[in-house]
């Protein structure tokens, strides 16, 4: 298995807060070593490798993960906690998942 993490640099040059949180979470759980490659999607540069990957995989969310299995199949995860569960076999807390749901679904602001 080969795992690529794509993280974002925002249009104003600052790092994306959510990406930093994800890297921090992986580090604290001693899982950062399971990530084979970290690639940057720089919003100021559409040719940056991360932006190219986002375009190729039709992803409009950062961070995201590209998981290649040994038979060459690829899966894309924009949900960090789903990635944690399905790929890294972790058991995240429910509130971590629900916070992510709120972030990824701004239309839930009707609740």
């Amino acid at each position: 298995m080969h795992i690529t993490l794509v993280k974002k640099i925002k249009a104003d040059g600052s790092p994306c807060r959510k990406c930093a949180e994800v890297v921090d979470r992986l580090e604290r759980s001693q899982l950062l070593g399971r990530i084979d490659r970290v690639v940057v999607a720089d919003e100021r540069d559409p040719d940056s490798e991360g932006m190219q990957l986002a375009g190729r995989y039709n992803v409009d969310w950062a961070p995201f993960f590209i998981v290649e299995d040994d038979s060459g199949g690829e899966r894309i995860y924009t949900s960090f906690f789903r990635f944690l569960k399905e790929v890294l076999g972790q058991n995240p807390r429910q509130e971590e998942e629900t916070t992510e749901m709120m972030r990824q679904n701004p239309d839930l602001d009707f609740l």
Binding site: K8, A11, C16, R17, K18, A41, E43, P46, M51, A54, G55, Y57, N58, V59, D60, W61, A62, R75, I76, Y77, T78, S79, R82, F83, E86, R93, Q94, E95, E97, T98, T99, E100, M101, M102, R103, Q104, N105, P106, D107, L108, D109, F110, L111
Partner: protein
């Protein structure tokens, strides 16, 4: 001879029972210009396992309409523990007025305790509302929705240009469906304006939350809701301290459709 609506309801029930996907897009097109009552009737008659989400605001019109169709309709509210006293009183008035089966859903106590222990009671003013809403609203809602096949919300297009402009009267719930469990969401008021909602409330003598009389339009939790001035956008009354730009995790130049796992 079966009427069109009854035939449609039977076919939705069959598709659902047999585990076939209901063609939601076709249904949305077919019902896009129907009345809220028609859409509600479709929801309540096509799905046995359906409930209405009631926020304690003007979506009370859904409760009124639904109780005329199915008096013992299931209605739930998210009791975050942070609602205004006026809203709690209003929820109870609605519960007493209509013969509905009403439930107040509470958040996971341990999750709330952990949040408060680690970040205090007002963490949303610093960290944004997502974590607190995740615990107090999404957690209990997700738990409830797992046992339903469809739910009904009071969302309207005119409430927010940013997040509601394209909502359909019926849609597959993208946030809460899972590969194993398809959930259908009905938004019968999607095409109604605030004026139409209030016309209905007045003409039908529907009870309403007294906060509306004090300038509150959108009503949520007490610390996160404020009254607005005439001609302000409805959503300016919620989470007004948050910087819209900071909510974004999108990749702005990717210009691509969403594909998520």
């Amino acid at each position: 001879m079966l009427g069109c609506r009854q035939a449609l309801i039977i076919s939705i029930k069959d598709e659902h029972r047999e585990g076939r996907a209901v063609d939601i897009e076709a249904l949305a097109n077919q019902y896009s210009s129907k009345t809220p009552e028609d859409i509600l009737r479709l929801a309540l008659e096509s799905f046995d396992n359906v409930a209405i989400s009631f926020s304690g605001a003007e979506d009370v019109v859904l409760v009124d309409m639904a109780s005329r169709i199915q008096p013992d309709v299931r209605v739930f509210s998210l009791d975050t523990g942070r609602l205004h006293p006026e809203t709690y009183r209003f929820l109870d008035r609605v519960r007493e007025r209509y013969p509905i089966r009403f439930e107040a859903l509470s958040p996971d106590a341990m999750a709330v305790e952990r949040l408060v222990r680690e970040k205090g009671l007002f963490s949303f003013y610093q960290d944004g509302h997502q974590e607190c809403c995740g615990i107090r609203k999404v957690g209990p809602l997700r738990r409830r929705l797992q046992s339903l096949d469809a739910w009904v919300t009071g969302q309207r297009k005119d409430q927010s240009l940013a997040t509601r402009a394209t909502i359909a009267v019926v849609e597959r719930d993208a946030a809460f469906s899972t590969p194993e469990h398809a959930l259908v969401k009905f938004n019968p008021l999607a095409n109604w304006t605030a004026a139409e909602v209030w016309d209905y409330i007045r003409s039908n003598d529907v009870p309403y939350n007294e906060l509306h009389e004090r300038g509150f339009v959108s009503i949520g939790c007490e610390p996160c809701t404020r009254a607005i001035l005439p001609y302000q956008q409805e959503r300016e009354g919620r989470w007004w301290w948050e910087d819209a730009a900071d909510k974004e995790c999108g990749l702005h130049k990717a210009n691509v459709a969403v594909r998520r796992r």
